[in-house]
Subunit: 196 residues, 2 copies
Amino acid sequence: MNGRLSSQLEFIREVDRLKTIFRQTYLMDASRHENDAEHSWHITLMAWLLEEHAAQGHVDILRVMKMLLIHDLVEIDAGDTFAYDIKGQEGKFEREREGATRIFGLLPAEQSGELMELWLEFEQGETPEARYAAAMDRIQPLLHNYFTQGKAWREHGVTLGRVQGRIRILEADLPEVHALVTELLEDAVEKGYLLP
Amino acid sequence: MNGRLSSQLEFIREVDRLKTIFRQTYLMDASRHENDAEHSWHITLMAWLLEEHAAQGHVDILRVMKMLLIHDLVEIDAGDTFAYDIKGQEGKFEREREGATRIFGLLPAEQSGELMELWLEFEQGETPEARYAAAMDRIQPLLHNYFTQGKAWREHGVTLGRVQGRIRILEADLPEVHALVTELLEDAVEKGYLLP
């Protein structure tokens, strides 16, 4: 049997577990928490459709999409850490890097290296692609919170200042989206979805 | 407010419903049925990782990935039709085309047109990209069935011949993958996962 194909299928089987890693965010209909696989699908699609709003001009959209498809795979081992859980952030990178090594390591060496490089680029957040990808990862849960009357925000006592801090990266890179999202946040505070 | 951005966000909100459309296929751990959003994520990732096995040589992988991200959105309106449900296939294309018109139509006109074109290309299955995308869409549930001891196959009394018919498209386009999957199917019959 083809060794490369066999490794690839083993990886494809293993990453199915992303569907069982649940986030704090709720679906738009508030019926249940969202899982990482659904979230990854949603933001990969968003990255494609919102590309025109990137102030950097050209981003390599294929690279962004690849980054987003795999950015949460490390959570199969490390679990999901809520964005506003300060204690949970301790040691997060080390836990996730171990996960990356094991999970990406199921693939043939050069593919494993490619995924590790993309994941590290995303984590470091310095290239236009990584920053654009991070923007998608922050806009999406914000929309889910807004359209569920702040369900997860209210459960965790999240404040306006905390969310504003999370989306500051949008200001330079996606100014129009930042402006719109800022309006949503003001409305959310007014409606009691989010603490002032 | 930016009208284009506003339409795009409306679309992003609407397509969240893909996470509530369940398929006959079970997760690899057999704990529950898989939904369309998770499935779309999984096969988009597979398309990237298995590209080297495409016998056509070069496929435009960005186009394939876009196709796979949106190929099931029509099911938000038309529902999931089980691949082996002959009666369900009647009028399926018309139902799905109406869904495509409504859902893609939420986007600005030229994006709506782009999604419609990609979806029709996928449905027609003639270009190398559409055939490669279709191959991913067929391999993935087969793997899920195999690794769950044929759970959905057994529930629906699916036979070897029916599955062989579904994966015939792999023979010319992905011969190595076809060979491996054929071995899995023989093993599945031997183990009683699939009717002979």
